[in-house]
């Protein structure tokens, strides 16, 4: 009887996985063909992808970039041996000829640097808020000044206009500081607002014309009728969001407030605006807003649209910020109270910084929504990209063009919105400070 027992003392070397479960085949088996249902889905998807691509790619690859009219495009396609007509190939000549118009509308071409500068500076102004760790803190002063630079760059005019508008805020702040130290906060606030209103309504007009006659510095004014194309969409989007942010904060605080009348006024406003489609608000802008104003006042249509879109964005912004306020743990409010801070101090120092930070992704997605909704202005006759596409199709040379313009506009919107939404997702990850 042998007493041999076998004990392995070293590990066997790992075997390579069978070829069917490694590498490309393994990956495909795992991810594409694991079971009959998945296989079916995969095959169906492949068929769909093939059909879509085989319809679109030859159409896109069309040698018509130099065409100067639809007829010429058709000749070029016929010469290239492609079927002319709608399915045959794109007529890219229209994009080559009109892309600048689709971007800037009728803005004077020698002044294109101004909208470009405005949008580049916007990135600079946003940097201290979005990348606070990477840029010098002093830049925040530029961000504060930017709301006055932006309209001045786009619309031009004397430099004194925006300066006097900004001066109103400075005056209001100074009055508030002085009064609130000698009397109460509330009186200070009311006093500041009153003085600012007096400045804007009465004094600043005189000051501006006086300064302008002494020292006429300014940019060539551009009327807002000349705005069009993507510049118009972006301008409406930015102005609406920038103005709606402070208004939205006020509305959100009002809605959360214990003061019953204030609360119901805010709820009424928010629910009303959110309950009607934007297009009806734009009808108000195009047909009714002048009727609501004192007789003789006459805004131009872009300003009216800006007002209504701002109101629209305000209601949505208020809800986003309310969400941010609701997401704050109750301890933050109680902590602020226990430190003896009053309502405004608590809001300014504890609540708002955190609530706004939580709300940034929501704010970005509101912005994307408003930006997409700016296409609706084409229905009331403004020449945004979609409106321009109709005007272009009314040109005898391009009468009959369909897909090229829609495709180009859709692509630009996609690039812009997709970029923004990715950025907002990145922000969401970055801002998660580990509360869960």
């Amino acid at each position: 009887m042998s007493d041999v027992s076998f004990v392995r003392t070293e590990m066997l070397p790992e075997k390579a996985p069978p070829p069917t479960s490694a590498g490309a085949i393994g990956w495909a088996r795992e991810n594409l063909f694991s079971g009959w249902f998945n296989t079916l889905l995969t095959l169906a998807s492949l068929v769909v992808v093939y059909y879509v691509l085989s319809a679109i790619v030859p159409w896109i690859l069309s040698p018509t970039f130099s065409g100067t009219s639809l007829g010429q495009c058709r000749e070029m396609l016929a010469a290239a041996g492609q079927e002319s007509g709608h399915g045959g190939g794109a007529c890219w000549g229209v994009i080559r000829e009109r892309w600048i118009q689709l971007m800037f509308g009728f803005y004077p071409s020698e002044l294109y640097w101004r909208p470009i500068a405005a949008f580049v500076l916007l990135a600079v102004a946003l940097a201290p808020i979005l990348f606070s760790d990477k840029v010098p803190a002093k830049l925040i002063w530029f961000s504060a000044a930017y709301p006055f630079i932006f309209p001045w760059l786009l619309w031009g005019g004397a430099v004194w206009g925006p300066i006097s508008a900004a001066a109103g805020f400075v005056i209001a702040f100074v009055v508030y500081r002085i009064v609130s130290q000698s009397m109460s906060d509330l009186i200070g606030l009311v006093g500041g607002i009153l003085v600012a209103l007096i400045w804007w309504l009465v004094l600043s007009g005189i000051a501006v014309s006086a300064l302008d006659s002494i020292l006429p510095i300014g940019l060539e004014p551009v009327e807002s009728r000349k705005f069009g194309g993507f510049m118009l969409s972006i301008t409406i989007g930015i102005v609406a969001i920038a103005c709606s942010l402070p208004l939205g904060i006020v509305m959100a605080l009002g809605r959360q407030s214990d003061l019953m009348i204030v609360k119901y006024l805010c709820v009424g406003f928010i629910e009303f605006i959110r309950g009607v489609p934007l297009i009806t608000l734009l009808f108000v802008a195009s047909t009714l807003l002048n009727i609501f104003m004192p007789p003789g006042t006459n805004f131009d249509i872009i300003l009216r649209v800006l007002i209504m879109v701002t109101l629209f964005a305000t209601a949505y912004m208020a809800e986003v910020i309310r969400g941010g306020l609701a997401a704050l743990p109750k301890g933050q409010y109680e902590g602020a109270d226990s430190l003896g801070l009053d309502y405004w101090q608590a809001q300014r120092l504890i609540i708002m910084p955190q609530a706004l930070k939580i709300s940034i992704p929501g704010i970005v997605s509101t912005f994307i929504g408003v930006f997409k909704d700016t296409t609706l202005v084409s229905i009331i006759g403004l020449l945004d990209p979609l409106g321009l596409s109709n005007a272009i199709r009314a040109d005898a040379n391009w009468n009959g063009i369909v897909w090229e313009l829609y495709g180009f506009i859709a692509l630009l919107f996609f690039v812009f919105c997709f970029g923004m939404s990715r950025y907002s997702m990145y922000l969401e990850r970055k801002l998660q400070t580990g509360h869960r």
Binding site: T42, L259, I261, L265, F292, M293, I368, L386, C417
Partner: protein, 422 residues
């Protein structure tokens, strides 16, 4: 003996309105209210002045004048001699039709896409991501006109169905025709119809209710009610004995058999579309404008719903699934008893706000000439009568009522499923 006396009554002074927190909130509210009322008065005063100047005092009299335009899609009888009010009503019904259809398909597509995005199948997951991003990042108005253009350009015209050797042919044994004027499908007809009930006589808001439809609905509801009784009985038996009697054929039977008898009694048959003259005649005509709007709104909203569904499913922690399977529940019961009820609580509130968005976006019908309420009341009527103020305000009011009703449903649901926590 000590007596407890009240603290001395403070004399009320005017400054307390500002400095005393007890009164301050009241002061602020009164100021806010006065400010609001001043603003409202200012706006109304301006409006009155301007209207007087334009010579157009507010007057809804135009509603009883003939509209004198035609509407292609009408659920109730209407012709160009009917009033503007009736035109608005036809438009309102069209709005509701597209909103309801849109919400239903958007939900189906959204749920399917949302689930498929979580699929382990790489290519399917990617395709769904492409779909969601494509639709979410391009304006819905662009999608509406785009889909309209696709329908018009790619489908055959009715004339292509004509002749010896037609370029296009009808589908499903000549019962469905896809043309670039819309889709024609068979319509149910009753040879022994019970007729209609005419409500409100000859008024602008008159409408007919089909007795057939009422009868069918009544039978259907009755059947479902009986079927529920059978189910509850089966539940009781299962609870007391542990064995569930097989009832599915019974439950199906009580719904289907009475329905079949009723339909046979009404003499139901289908009217098929046929090419006659310029167009297909007979059958139900789903117009291009409806399909484009419906499809665009559903696809656009479905992209958002897909994200909501995905987030809802991912929000349920894996522990729930594991605990349920530890209890010995089967896979489909885990889904229906554990995951879905919890996920729905996350999904439904944003889902309903998407329904709200869809309904509001249906006002873009104007871009493809679908005659919804924006197209009739806010479109042609406003144009022909020049009564902008009345039309726009009424239009807003209608949408507001629709939205508030949807919101009310949402709040009611939220209350009913809210976690009862401390």
């Amino acid at each position: 003996m000590t007596t407890l006396s009240d603290p001395p009554k403070e004399q009320f002074r005017l400054s307390m309105l500002l400095y005393d927190t007890r009164y301050r909130s009241g002061t602020i509210q009164v100021i806010a209210l006065i400010g609001f009322m001043l603003l409202a008065a200012w706006l109304i005063n301006n409006t009155a002045q301007n209207l007087a100047e334009l010579g157009k005092p507010i007057d809804f009299g135009f509603f009883s004048e003939p509209a004198s335009y035609d509407i292609n899609q009408r659920l109730l009888d209407y012709d160009s001699r009917d009033t503007h009010l009736r035109a608005a009503l036809i438009g309102l019904l069209n709005t509701l039709v597209v909103a309801v259809l849109g919400c239903a398909t958007a939900t189906v597509i959204g749920v399917v896409v949302g689930v498929l995005r979580l699929s382990h199948n790489w290519i399917v997951g990617r395709l769904m991501t492409v779909y969601v991003e494509m639709f979410r990042n391009v304006p819905v108005l662009l999608w509406i006109v785009f889909i309209m253009a696709i329908l018009i350009e790619t489908l055959p015209a009715p004339s292509a169905f004509r002749g010896e050797d037609p370029a296009a042919s009808m589908l499903l044994s000549d019962s469905v025709a896809f043309t670039n004027r819309g889709v024609y499908i068979p319509e149910p007809l009753f040879s022994r119809s019970l007729g209609d009930i005419h409500l409100l006589g000859e008024a602008s808001l008159r409408f007919d209710v089909s007795v057939n439809l009422i009868a069918i609905l009544a039978v259907l509801i009755g059947g479902i009610w009986v079927s529920n009784i059978i189910k509850r009985r089966a539940d009781r038996i299962q609870e007391s004995t542990g064995v569930r009697p097989t009832t599915w054929y019974l439950r199906l039977g009580v719904i289907l058999v009475p329905l079949a008898i009723l339909l046979a009694a009404l003499g139901v048959h289908f009217g098929y579309p046929a090419l006659k003259g310029f167009n297909f005649q007979g059958g139900t005509h789903l117009r291009n404008s409806l399909i484009a709007l419906w499809l665009a709104l559903s696809l656009y909203t479905a992209a958002f719903i897909a994200e909501i569904v995905r987030a809802g499913i991912m929000a349920i922690s894996k522990g729930q699934t594991e605990a349920a399977s530890a209890l010995g529940l089967r896979q489909n019961r885990i889904m229906s008893l554990v995951i879905l009820p919890q996920a729905l609580r996350v999904i439904v509130p944003p889902l309903i706000s998407q329904y709200l968005n869809l309904t509001k976006n249906s006002s873009l019908a104007i871009a493809v000439g679908y005659m919804d309420i924006t197209g009739t009341l806010g479109g042609i009527t406003m144009n022909q009568t020049g009564r902008e103020l009345e039309c726009v305000l009424l239009l807003m009011l209608v949408y507001l009522v629709i939205s508030l009703s949807i919101s009310a449903v949402m709040n009611w649901y939220n209350e009913s499923v809210k976690l009862k926590e401390r």
